[in-house]
Symmetry: C2
Subunit: 272 residues, 2 copies
Amino acid sequence: MKNMNKKDRPIGVFDSGVGGLTVLREIVRQLPDEGTIYLGDTARVPYGIRSPETVTRYSFENTRFLFSKDIKVLVVACNTASSVSLDAIKKSIQVPVIGVIEPGAKAAVRATRNNRVGIIGTEATIRSDSYTKSIRAHDKDIKVFGLPCPLFVPLAEEGWTEGDIATMIAERYLNDIKDKGIDTLVLGCTHYPLLKKVITRLMGKGVRLIDSAVEVAQEIKTTLEITGLKGAKRGKPLREFYVTDSPEKFRRIGEKFLGQKIEHIEKVEVGN
Amino acid sequence: MKNMNKKDRPIGVFDSGVGGLTVLREIVRQLPDEGTIYLGDTARVPYGIRSPETVTRYSFENTRFLFSKDIKVLVVACNTASSVSLDAIKKSIQVPVIGVIEPGAKAAVRATRNNRVGIIGTEATIRSDSYTKSIRAHDKDIKVFGLPCPLFVPLAEEGWTEGDIATMIAERYLNDIKDKGIDTLVLGCTHYPLLKKVITRLMGKGVRLIDSAVEVAQEIKTTLEITGLKGAKRGKPLREFYVTDSPEKFRRIGEKFLGQKIEHIEKVEVGN
């Protein structure tokens, strides 16, 4: 692979688990000709409860693994790793690096009319204030309201993304943020796009939903165009998956997240 | 503490997180005069997704930490650690060791009349078949039906243990096991006693619920009596808590599990 034309190299994506597959799904949708390599660090999931030093070390190990596969762009499809270690990763490798927070934050800044933006995510993401900081770096007049929704991740992984249970749980969480008069809501967790239908219905037409996955794929597209790295169509593009724990559960849950079959999957060691 | 009368030493309890506090709660209820030291390995939770070798190593480290506090009995209040490493722990220390699986399994064997027993637990516990093996070691004619209920843990941690959402989720899971004609159901996860009311109502009067926490406390009581280690009443008993990650979340969620205030809590390192 080392002698491959740079344009023909794949896009590398990592996450702590299956969540980043919603980002991969959008990459495949918006950039269908690009090859992709996905790494889910399932042996060490979840990252949200670990210290910044530990998350940074894991991120470096994941980066090194994907870089060894000769990727042309690295996507950090994990909110925690993007919050904590994106700058360090950028300094460590020679390809463009794209995280999930900045694209979502920028889209929220563009979308809001009344300068009131809601962010829903895991407890770790909300506590880190990373979306708030990123949004306010673009426009300090925007008021940001963060709300953790801890049951959304297990709900998405269980596949209960529609129906009464999903609706009641979403209602209970979202009532808090509906009262804030926001006109824009960021899905600040890669699991949440699976619940988009329910969330859209509950928030109503007056609230614009920002799906970070869509924005990340858009950002990759722009980056590939600017750097001249956009691949050309050449038969079936590469779709490789690697995990650090047993592939069965990842495959079973992951196919729901990705919306297609996961074929080439392999267990690897990425740590020391 | 090293020179303390052996009877006056505390009971040591460890779990990967807050779940084991339902076991501690029962110990405090059934043995109110005994001092207790609880270790929640919150930096490395959840154990259920790790390899047996890793869980065994963590269990040894937790055991060594509690043993250094001069305990008289060790309670492994974690289903995964009990399944995977109980025998190894027993060989490693000189005090009685009690896990959570065997007491619940024995109680189910005693309780069932029609020899049909259900087990609900996390995916890891159900997949490990540890309850099934333990029940069938006592009576191989008993049919055991396992059912993972992945949303019960986040539901208990969110504190949504009654009301419509808890009822609908429990209904959706339990319908599967109600069809099996069981007369006994083991709550095979230390988080589940928080959902006991909802589960009892849904299963109906014909099904006897086995709460492992109650059985474990009973087993400790018997062990202390047999070994002559039962403590006498002497003022306020010791209640110490240790965690391996920040104490705030543990304290907030843990007080719901324990049913009382958590006062002396400290962050410690237990690994190498």
